[in-house]
Amino acid sequence: MRGVVLLTLYLMRDTVARWIEQPAGVIAKGSVVGFMVATAMAILASFALAADELERRLGDIGLDRFYVREAILQSTRKPGEPTVGEMLEQSNVFGPEVRVVRLRAAPVRVTSEFGQTLPAYLYDADAPPLETQRSDANGLVLCLPGVPEGVSVEVHVDRPAADRVTAVATTAPPPEWSASIDPSGLVLVPDGLGLLGARNVVSQLVIVERGPNSPSLEEMTTAVMRLARAERIDVTVQGPGPIIRSLDELRSRRDLVRGGLAVIFGAGAAFVFAAMGVLEYREVRYVGALLRSFGAAPWSLFARHAIEQLLIANLGLITALSLMWYTRAHTVAALGYPVGPSQESVLASIVAPEVEVIAMIMNGGVMVGLLPVAWLIAKPVGRVLS
């Protein structure tokens, strides 16, 4: 036991002395690991942030809803010719369970007394878009998140080339379908309220929500596109399908990249630690062989080398992760995403599971890199000592 303690103490002292004498080797190995970890984490973080962005958009649109945007150009339309939105609203073509909300973008901005400037949308007074809309009010609804329902507030309507008009609106929670239009809220204005002045509406937005027994979203969007083509009307259909496909593609690409990173990272760590380990061992092989000549077991020398290499590699890993954690806001910004608590939390959420995988790959690579040194340690003492 005393022999093991003395041997361990001597090997520790020998290692520390070498680190002090030649710090470049330690720094180089730690830096290589740190750089590889930071690169891998940045790549995986960009995937996570992209997936988060798509998931957020998917959440806003919803899985049973699609939007049809349509330009309403007075110059090309014949009088009385229905728009695609009107056709969808009136024909009930997709069955009774499908809900159609038709809104027209008002060419004004509305400012609430709370200070928010919001987009305004016109709706048919006989088809209110909110199911819970109060019939006793004037029909002007301010949809704002986090504001109590049914409160009367003043809103100011800024009309281009006209006076500012003030009216009273009733507050309501934003409907689910509005998140994709403007997550900060919107104002719903009934037709005929006279707030718009002489300006014409130039675009229309139709929200189509399917019921449990309705045709699939894909069938419905295809039908809408066909209808628009037949009527020679330009429409843009936005549904969850492309986002889901993008998300699936992103996830499969992330898995591929993760596998590639594992191979590159593991092989890189193995190569670096093997090459540098062999060079370093040339400096300590004399002492190692001498200790073996006293009867020290080769495994004890290998254990020293393994512990040293794993220690350096994991110090590099921890340093890189710490730096990434403290600069996470900059990382999010550098990856091209808006910095906010949600993006930072996304970055934090991916760190824990990915770190485990990266640490395993890195330590595995380092262990593979120890093999050449193990072979050198096993060489007969007499071939080393002169």
């Binding site: 005393r2 022999g3 303690v5 003395l6 041997l7 001597y10 002292r13 020998d14 002395a17 004399y286 002492v287 001498l290 200790l291 073996r292 000549s293 006293f294 009867g295 020290a296 077991a297 080769p298 007969p380 003492v381 007499g382 071939r383 000592l385 002169s386």
Partner: protein
């Protein structure tokens, strides 16, 4: 702790070369090393150091076998391995090979501790051998602070303190003056008094008087190459 060998170290038709295409250093060499001092003498490069390393197990024979006596008489002799080196061998290298970062005391302590020497016995032997070899005043110094002769004596103290059954010394007196050679020669004689096996490789004629037997490598040399 003092141990007696239970037989001889045997070389049985040993052939050795350092690489596949290299010339043979030893060819069909057979010998028995009994308790007492055996001196290997001969010209430089004749294979003395190689043989002594084969005896320690630092090298493995290319052909043939080197066997060391078992710890118990009932057991069969075996090839020298790490356990033999740890528990039953004292070795002095031609290049001394002291641990550069350790003091004289630590240089001696580490192999003794690996051999499992009890602390009290170790201290007594350490003090005795450092005194005996005249290096007691340098016990806290590091090898770099010692002269060649002092390092030589520390290396010998390190080997002898273990009181192992087998002591192998490779050129222990090279470059030493008569006084130091005399000290080492006497120490060797004193060491083998307990029927230990001691093999000394040297071309130093001053050690011949201490030897019980001599293996002259000159006899292995082709007649036309003899000096």
């Amino acid at each position: 702790m003092t141990e007696r060998p239970t037989g001889e170290i045997r070389c049985d038709r040993v052939w050795f070369r350092y690489a596949r295409r290299a010339p043979w250093v030893l060819s069909d060499f057979s010998a028995e090393f009994a308790p007492g001092v055996t001196l290997l003498k001969g010209y430089s490069g004749c294979g003395k150091t190689t043989l002594i390393r084969l005896l320690a197990g630092f090298l493995r024979p290319t052909k043939g076998a080197v066997t060391v006596p078992a710890r118990k008489a009932s057991r069969r002799p075996s090839a020298p391995g790490p356990r033999f080196r740890r528990e039953r061998l004292g070795f002095v290298f031609q290049g001394l090979n002291l641990l550069p970062l350790a003091s004289v005391e630590r240089n001696i302590a580490l192999p003794a501790a690996l051999a499992g020497l009890p602390r009290r016995e170790y201290r007594a032997r350490r003090d005795a051998w450092l005194e005996r070899l005249g290096v007691e005043p340098f016990r806290t110094k590091k090898p770099g602070q010692l002269s060649g002769g002092q390092r030589q004596r520390v290396a010998i103290a390190r080997a002898m303190i273990r009181d192992s059954a087998v002591l192998l010394l490779d050129e222990p007196t090279s470059g030493l003056d008569d006084r130091n050679t005399g000290i080492i020669s006497e120490a060797i004689r004193e060491y083998v008094r307990g029927d230990k096996i001691c093999v000394v490789s040297s071309h130093d004629a001053r050690l011949e008087s201490s030897a019980d037997s001599i293996i002259d490598f000159e006899t292995f040399r082709p007649p036309d190459e003899r000096v």
